[in-house]
């Protein structure tokens, strides 16, 4: 079994975190295969990108100079297919990202490999590759197999696997792409960075959110300061935004913003009204602090406490001061 091929992503000179996580995911499978773990980086020849992918478990990093650092799905597809013909991997891995979704399925269709996306677990069961994904807003999980497919292409969910912390001793090779006309399909224009002014709940990974349970709007500045010290985004439930005490951009909920990329949501003094939950109940890790043990937020939260919100503020301030 010849091995695993990982296609790395990068932007603005650094490797995307997910590519490293995939290495972590794949190295666990290597023992099931008897093969090597390859990483391919398409770039403008920047060797530092290859260095970043030299992680524990990687056997070879191939840097292909395609004359550009910008993701171009047609280039990626052509190059990856050509490299795959040479290396003949059994498993081709992408991140389930904007880039991954733009080319992984295309490669699978062009080659006829097995294919599944947004994978959260991979196992070998009886010599067969088994991939797991979730569906229906996480209520269901599917276990997938790929009989008759000697080659399988998968896209891997981010923030699911652990990236290796240790450097590897991969061999680093450089290739110049000699092949068909590159480009033509896509012509890069520019990148537009998101506006940093103001608050963007939808892009916040950690949110400290406050509700009426903090007793008085006068206490908001304290929580805002705590959020700033913790380097997390301040969110709130509807009343504060309505009263104009906090800008609307802070409001999490059905009529505010959905915390779509949030990984950790800390709700203080929020009871969990239906409209608020709409904006955050999907978050993987929710810590809810509410003096009312029957508050609906505890149905969505992973961790809960009935501590008093102001006392928690005191404790947080003390902690942050000391550190």
């Amino acid at each position: 079994m010849p091995g695993i091929l990982i296609i790395a992503e990068h932007l603005n000179g650094s490797i995307a975190r997910i590519s490293k996580e995939i290495v972590g995911a794949a190295s666990g499978l290597k023992e099931g295969f008897e093969g090597r773990l390859f990483v391919v980086v398409l770039s403008n020849g920047d060797a530092r990108l290859s260095d970043e992918m030299n992680l524990e478990g990687v056997d070879e990093v191939i840097n292909v100079n395609v004359g550009s650092d910008h993701f171009d799905s047609s280039i990626y597809e052509d190059v990856i297919i050509e490299i795959s013909h040479k290396l003949q991997p059994s498993l081709i891995l992408f991140g389930h990202t904007a880039n991954g979704m733009a080319c992984a399925a295309a490669i699978a269709a062009r080659l006829g490999t097995g294919y599944a996306s947004d994978i959260i677990d991979m196992q070998f069961v009886d010599g067969q590759l088994t991939a797991t994904r979730s569906a229906h807003a996480g209520k269901i999980q599917q276990e997938l197999v790929f009989p008759n497919k000697n080659v399988v292409t998968l896209t891997i969910r981010g923030a699911t696997f652990r990236a290796p912390e240790v450097e590897g001793d991969a061999s680093l090779t450089q290739q110049d792409y000699e092949g068909m006309d590159l480009g033509g399909g896509i012509e890069h224009i520019e990148y537009i960075a998101p506006s940093t002014a103001g608050v963007d709940i939808s892009k916040a990974d950690v949110i400290l959110s406050i509700g009426r349970g903090i007793h008085s709007p006068d206490n908001i500045p304290r929580f805002a300061a705590i959020a700033e010290k913790l380097d997390v985004t301040l969110g709130c439930s509807r009343p504060f935004a309505d009263a104009g005490i906090l800008p609307k951009a802070h409001q999490v909920g059905q009529s505010g913003t959905v915390a779509s990329t949030c990984k950790l949501y800390i709700a203080i003094g929020i009871s969990g009204a239906v409209q608020h939950m709409y904006g955050m109940k999907h978050v993987d890790s929710i810590v809810a602090i509410n003096i009312d043990p029957n508050a609906p937020i505890f149905d969505a939260a992973k961790y809960g406490s009935c501590a008093d919100s102001l006392e928690v503020a005191n404790a947080l301030e003390a902690l942050l001061e000391s550190s």
Binding site: E77, C103, A109, Y278, S285
Partner: protein, 1065 residues
């Protein structure tokens, strides 16, 4: 003989001149009236419910009693009465003289204007004239010295500049009107005084005011010949001025004298509480141009006297929203100046934000002394805005929710009665069993957690009082009151029809009860327009009956000081002021009224659909109201009897920080306290026993079944009982970290999943609930096409049976959409594939695909001559999503299906869509990035590869001139956008958020029914081109919150730790 000479000192020429002036004046007056009537002819006839006889009686009764004018402004009411009656007497007096002099005398040869009649006449007119002067002076004083705020026309909420010309005109006419009348009246007395001074008739005291003036002249030593001269000039001046005033009546403020007759006469018997339906065969939906209004509306525009009472009463105006009913009416009047004004578009006169500010509370129409009805006009104008798609996204989300699932919360209809589960007794289902009362619960009382508490309390009160009641349970949809007032008439109709069908199909009931004034209003007043409906009672009336009748006994009178807030839809709109107060008295509360109570109650701000819209800047009406309550001395409780009120005022109480002073409670909760509900036994013992027996027998049966199956080595598909929740931080079998996993020993596809430790013997360890044993794989196994290096198996577009399609025009865009099911929380897995997920699904169009459709429509509108075709791979039910896209504006639909496709993976779907694309030959193919149910995020990209087309994923913006290149932006992780150009034709997968999919009104949905959907057989798709096979499907373990310490220090440390974990991955 007591009389006076009419044309003293005038020769026949001068009399003729006078008559000529008179005739000109009357002609001018008539002409002015005629111009108005011509305007009225361009609008629709009066609709609405006018009871003519009663209306005429009410007209006279209201005018003569002046009851509508003394409300909330006694000074203005009395002063106006003085002016009104004084003016009427003067007018009648003049008419009498006219009749006597110009008809009776010449024709019949005698005069009646003499003798005692003349004396009484003189007295009445003098007193009337005096009253007129007093009234006018009072009004002038009020306008110039007192300056009430409601008479200030300045607008704080909109561009003052554009309204200035009109405002200047209004101020001018206000003063001209008063001063002119005053001058006419005073000059009249001055001249009368001159006459009396000169002629000294014996009966002078019968003209007391004139007599007084004459005595003043005497005291001043006025020369008689001077008096004569003054009298001549004065007479002409007074006469011409009076005739000029008469002529001018229809041209300015004075016209209210006539137009008010129209506005009062044409009053609807139930304005706002029963809205008018749309007229048949109307060209526009609602009101788009002035001529879409009706006769009553235009009378209303002309009748407004700018008294400002509505301006003062309106909660929107008071809290700084961009709406004043007075300004709305006046702006429409200004716009409707000419007969040709019928063509003027409303959007050039009234700002959208003004129309959306209205809370449908009815305060304006309630207080208007001349019967103007602004709210129904606003609703009619909103109907047109809705038809044009001009409303905010939040409101659109509500429309969509109501139309998809019949409630505004976006919750599955199956959850509508979930609130009853916590009751100690079962609640009857009217669809199965008859009951005396049908309790129509309403959205908020069903879904909102705070109001669910009230619902349960009321349910327990009914139970304690042995009231026989039942619910429609899942059959109930929102009554539709507010959606109607928000202007979505078609959706209202759909909801009302649904509820009526449910009630018709249900078992028998006598009466309907409700805790929701909004539902109460529409079922009571508007549903009967469709068919007869049972009588409906608001629960406050029910409670009065139960308390007075003894079914609920007050054992603990509350002895509290409370204030009561009259809900708009119960009080003002339906006259229900007394029942709640009676209840409060019966339970021992002392009612301290807020200054604005009963008909003057101040709206909480949630009505008219505003609860579904973003707040406008400024104070919230509910905060304004709470502050009013807080100004009362020492009240314990603010009492509500409406679900929306409870929400709004509890919130406001917290944000205005008055929670320490008084609580906000629903009246049912107070009653529950007073009757000590928690001490009464209300659970049904027999049914509790039943529940226990059911539950234990189920547990026994399950356990036996499991062991049998395990023992026999069979795989049962019975669902296991829930595992005890293992609450540790890291247990989720759903997302293990691969790096520390050891590959499981190969056990073959037919073994039990690895989590089971107990093997297959009897007495096996209890299997965790997340793993449902699957069926034999050979039942569901599909074959995949073999692929290996050296023998590739590229996926090809399906060769589908050809179907009819029109010849391609300039451009064609193909959009792939999916009909996705949202899985309910209580579902069961009965097999290993998705087709066997027997659970409840709520279906709708995938929202990413909706954005794709919207983009296609925007592009096609820009390009012109572009056909938008929507395609789906789905069963018959999926046609509703195609229809939705067609209603939005797509031209044609294609549905590809075969039953073998029920589990199709994205590669197979892409193959099919590519097959359709080969026939359609589109210039652009769009689909959503992913679907909300399975979220593969792959179909579009796979389709592009199969077709060999350029492609991009996660596109947020697309600029296309129809030629060979697209300028695109796609969204990367972290929010960065990547701008680039791509060759066309191409396949794009579209991200949500870059556009707001347009709302398809009921009207557009109806029209779309004529568009075609072609059905294509997809049997050839299932040839093994799939990318995967599903081995099994299972429910992952979910957890309730793990409770960590209540100690603040531990919690703080925990929070910091969690943040670190996430940040460091």
């Amino acid at each position: 003989m007591e009389t006076r000479e009419l044309f003293w000192s005038l020769d026949s020429l001068e009399i003729a001149l006078f008559y000529m002036v008179g005739v000109i004046s009357i002609l001018c007056f008539l002409y002015g009236c005629w111009l108005h009537f011509r305007k009225y002819q361009n609008v629709r006839p009066a609709s609405g419910h006018i009871a003519w006889r009663a209306s005429i009686v009410k007209l006279f009764s209201d005018l003569l009693s002046h009851r509508t004018l003394v409300r909330r402004d006694k000074l203005a009411g009395i002063a106006h009465a003085a002016i009104f009656f004084g003016f009427i007497f003067a007018a009648i007096g003049t008419t009498i003289i006219f009749i006597d002099y110009d008809f009776v005398q010449p024709i019949l040869g005698y005069s009646f204007w003499k003798g005692d009649f003349y004396l009484v006449f003189s007295l009445v007119l003098d007193l009337g004239g005096a009253a007129l002067i007093v009234g006018l002076i009072a009004m002038i004083w009020r306008r110039w010295i007192i300056r009430p705020a409601k008479l200030n026309y300045d607008r704080t909420y909109s561009e003052a500049a554009s309204a200035q010309p009109a405002i200047q005109h209004w101020r001018w006419e206000d003063h001209v009107f008063l001063w002119t009348l005053l001058i006419i009246s005073i000059s009249g007395f001055l001249i009368e005084g001159l006459r009396i001074y000169s002629e000294q008739p014996e009966w002078a005291r019968w003209s007391p005011v004139g007599n007084l003036v004459a005595q003043l002249y005497a005291a001043a030593g006025l020369q008689l010949h001077t008096a004569d001269v003054l009298r001549v000039w004065g007479w002409w001046a007074h006469g011409v001025l009076a005739l000029a005033f008469t002529a001018a009546i229809p041209w300015y403020k004075a016209k209210h004298i006539i137009s008010v007759l129209g506005s009062l006469l044409l009053r609807d018997t139930k304005p706002l509480s029963r809205l008018p339906s749309e007229p048949e065969n109307a060209e526009n939906v609602g009101v788009a141009v002035i001529s879409d209004f009706n006769v009553k509306d235009v009378f209303d525009f002309d009748a407004c006297t700018k008294c400002g009472r509505c301006h003062e009463a309106c909660p929107a105006t008071t809290t700084g929203y961009p709406l004043s009913p007075r300004d709305l009416i006046l702006d429409l009047r200004t716009a409707n100046a000419k007969p040709s004004s019928g063509l003027i578009a409303i959007e050039s006169v009234i700002d959208e934000r003004t129309l959306w500010s209205c809370m449908s509370c009815g305060a304006c129409q309630d207080i208007c002394p001349v019967g103007i009805e602004p709210p129904s006009k606003i609703v009619k104008m909103r109907r047109n805005l809705v038809d044009q798609g001009k409303f905010e996204p939040l409101l659109q989300a509500t429309f969509t929710s109501l139309s998809d699932v019949g409630n505004s919360f976006g919750e599955s209809p199956r959850k509508r009665s979930a609130w009853v589960n916590e009751l100690e007794f079962p609640v009857k289902d009217i669809r199965e069993q008859p009951a005396k009362h049908l309790w129509f619960v309403g959205d908020y009382a069903s879904f909102d957690p705070r109001n669910q508490v009230v619902s349960r309390t009321f349910a327990r009160l009914l139970k304690a009082a042995s009231v026989d009641f039942a619910l429609l349970h899942e059959g109930e949809h929102s009554a539709g009151n507010d959606i109607r007032r928000a202007g979505e008439e078609g959706l209202y109709h759909m909801l009302a029809e649904h509820n009526l069908e449910q009630m018709n199909a249900a078992q028998s009931f006598d009466k309907i009860l409700t805790t929701d004034p909004h539902s109460y209003n529409t079922i009571r007043n508007e549903y009967p327009e469709y068919q007869d409906v049972a009588e409906i009672e608001h629960y406050t009336s029910t409670l009065v009956g139960l308390l007075k009748g003894g079914q609920l006994k007050v054992t603990k009178p509350l002895n509290r000081r409370v204030t009561f807030h009259d809900p708009c839809h119960l009080g003002r709109l339906n006259g229900g002021y007394d029942a709640p107060r009676e209840v409060l008295e019966l339970i021992g509360c002392e009612i301290v009224e807020m200054p604005r109570n009963r008909d003057n109650s101040f709206c909480c701000g949630a009505g008219g659909g505003r609860i579904w819209m973003a707040d406008m800047p400024g104070e919230k009406p509910s905060a304004n109201r709470i502050k009013e309550a807080a100004s009362l001395t020492d009240i314990d409780c603010f009492v509500t009897c409406c679900p929306k009120d409870l929400n709004m005022f509890e919130d406001a109480n917290k944000t205005t920080d008055h929670t320490g002073e008084f609580t906000v409670s629903d009246i049912a909760e107070l009653v529950a306290e007073a009757v000590e509900l928690d001490r009464l036994s209300i659970s049904d013992v027999p049914s509790l026993l039943e529940k226990i027996i059911d539950k234990s027998s189920q547990i026994v049966a399950d356990s036996i079944l499991y062991r049998l199956n395990a023992g026999l080595g069979l795989h049962s598909n019975a669902q296991q009982p829930e595992a005890p929740t293992q609450l540790t931080e890291t247990t989720t079998k759903s997302i293990p970290a691969i790096s520390d996993k050891v590959p499981a020993t190969p056990t073959g596809p037919q073994s039990f999943p690895k989590e089971s430790s107990g093997g297959t013997g009897l007495g096996a360890a209890h299997e965790p609930a997340d793993v449902i044993p699957y069926q034999e794989l050979h039942v569901t196994q599909k074959e995949l096409r073999k692929m290996e290096w050296g023998a590739l198996a590229p996926v090809e577009a399906a060769v589908l049976p050809t179907y009819d399609l029109p010849e391609k025009g300039k451009h064609r865009i193909l959009v792939a959409v999916k009909h996705v099911g949202v899985l309910d929380d209580d579902f069961q897995i009965t097999g290993s594939d998705f087709g066997a997920l027997s659970g409840s699904f709520d279906y709708k169009i995938n929202e990413w695909d909706e954005s794709a459709v919207e983009l296609a429509l925007l592009l096609s509108e820009k390009l012109g001559e572009c056909e938008v075709v929507v395609v789906t791979v789905g069963n018959e039910g999926s046609e509703s999503s195609l229809r939705k896209a067609l209603a939005m504006g797509a031209d044609r639909g294609v549905r590809l299906w075969d039953d073998s496709l029920v589990d199709a993976d994205p590669i197979t779907i892409a193959r099919g869509l590519a097959g359709v694309a080969k026939q359609e030959q589109p210039d652009l193919i769009l689909c959503g990035v992913q679907s909300a149910d399975l979220g593969y995020g792959s179909t579009g990209t796979a389709m592009a590869a199969i077709l060999g087309m350029p492609h991009s994923a996660s596109v947020t913006d697309c600029d296309w001139d129809g030629e060979s290149r697209l300028i695109l932006r796609r969204e990367l992780e972290g929010g960065t956008q990547h701008c680039f150009s791509l060759a066309a034709p191409a396949v794009l997968t579209i991200q949500t958020g870059s556009n707001q999919p347009r709302y398809a009104t009921m009207r557009m949905i109806k029209q779309a029914k004529k568009k075609t959907i072609e059905l294509v057989d997809g049997a050839c798709l299932d040839d093994g081109s799939s990318g995967f096979v599903v081995n099994r499907v299972y429910k992952p373990v979910t957890e309730k919150a793990t409770m960590i310490s209540d100690g603040a220090d531990e919690v703080a440390a925990f929070i910091v730790k969690k943040i670190k974990e996430v940040r460091e991955g």
